[in-house]
Amino acid sequence: MKKKFLLACTVMIVVTAFANDTTRLHSSATAKALKEDAPPITLPQGFTSVVVTSGLGKARHLVVAANGDVFVKLEKLKDGKGIIRLHDGNGDGRADEISGFGNYRGTGITIKNGYLYASSDQDVYRYKIDEKTGTVDTASEQKIVTGLVAKNQHETKSLTLDNEGNIYVNIGAPSNCCQVQDRVKGSPGQDPCPILEKAGGIWQFKADKTNQSYGEGVRYATGLRNVVGLDWNTQVNELYVMQHGRDMLYQFYPDLFSQKEGAENPSEEMFRIKKGADCGWPYCYYDVDKKEKLLNPEYGGDRKKTDRCADKTKSIVQFPGHLAPNALLFYTGNQFPDKYKNGAFIAFHGSWNRAPEPQAGFFVVFVPFKDGMPSGKWEVFADGFSGFTQGASTGKAKYRPCGLAQGPDGSLYVSDDNNGMIWKVSYGK
């Protein structure tokens, strides 16, 4: 064990050293700045990272315009602004002009066909953007969706658009498992779960119509507890989402789950969504050990019964429990090596419901894809964000990956919502 740990440390040091060496190829001023605040993230060989900016606070999702300007959505206003624009004037990857607009906090942000879309926890807005210059016409603000459920838990709204003029919005369930009394041990699951009428799914709206709400929208998929990471896969023209699985299996059902099993269960799942999909929440969960979708104990499950879960939409990738997937991005760039093309990057925010077992996540993983389906095992792509030593609590994590975006040159951007650090990851530079 000790030997393995030492080996891991050595590998990390070597990788970090390598990353530092390659970044020093930039101008001396940049190298100096990087040396001072370079975060300890590790990347596969050949990749380097540059800190675009830091100190934005709760930097959630982000998007990069065609001219390279980065737009970041904040969950806590910075100087009264909820959307931050980062402009890199000299091409060194670092932002040298920072401005902001939008006086609401939120998570979702994306760009499509000349419009920048951003969300608060209840509404979706859009603005005209000139992608050649990165200029946003803030006076053109339109509220396209309004009045969505936002009740403290899983309240953030993530956004993606298809090529047909539709926008997809996650409406997370304000609940763990739709119990009569949320998160109270022994409280039974409501059946049917009334939350699913207005939350716990993905809603589809028109991208160009104002003031839409539930009446105008379509419940595109249901049975999704909370989705923060979602993306429209343009290769196969379908929606993919990452679900945050339920909490408290060991704490509520110690007869069914050991402490360790409770830390690993249930899976965080990736779904390929067709219109009308039902992914099973709150009735079902994916059991990491049994490798199948089973009935939740709140609904009479015993880790054996499949029951009504048999005909729910099956996930296409399963990850260990509680890692908290906060961003999903299909890579369509040409900069990274071939194996990354059309594959999925996922930013895991990091766990908390594993305590007292060690916390996990706090990394960006990659899943290779072929024709819209996973073609190999997932692997860690970027790591070292938490800066953890063994046994640390979630609150002690230095950085927590939350958003992903692809730049016009094929670079990958990662945001952190703990301190508001933004990284630009490039290959072979």
Partner: protein, 163 residues
Amino acid sequence: MYNFFGWQLVTGNLHLAFTQHSKHMKKVIPAVFVFIFATAFAIQQQPAGLKAAIARGKTVYENACLACHQQDGSGVPNMNPPLAKTKWVLGDKKALTKIILKGLQGGEIEIDGDTFHNPMPPQESVLNDQEIADVLTYVRNSFGNKASMVTMAEVKALRAKLK
């Protein structure tokens, strides 16, 4: 450790008392002795009770609280509030006890401009008066906190009042 700290505190007061104006000395000296005796008595009584309550409270914490508030009481950003050195834990005992008994919807707790969104599940049907007193005493004396005990009688009285 606590004993030592307690005596340090008493000597500190004594020193302070003697530095007062001398014409008050005659009144002050007996008062100081009474105070010393009372404190010494309390020290003999309380640490044993406190220590045992903290030990019992630790077990309750591990079963009912740790998953969300974490082993070191640091909580989870945006979700579950930290328990270390906040007015919510160190301040009014009744308000704190009410939170345990009745729970919270989520969003009510604000610490340094940050809010916490997960609901606090009510514990009134999960934990008894002794367990609530013990776990609060543990939380108020752990993670760098230092505050008075919460007694079973205090929890019992508040539970009855809130019914």
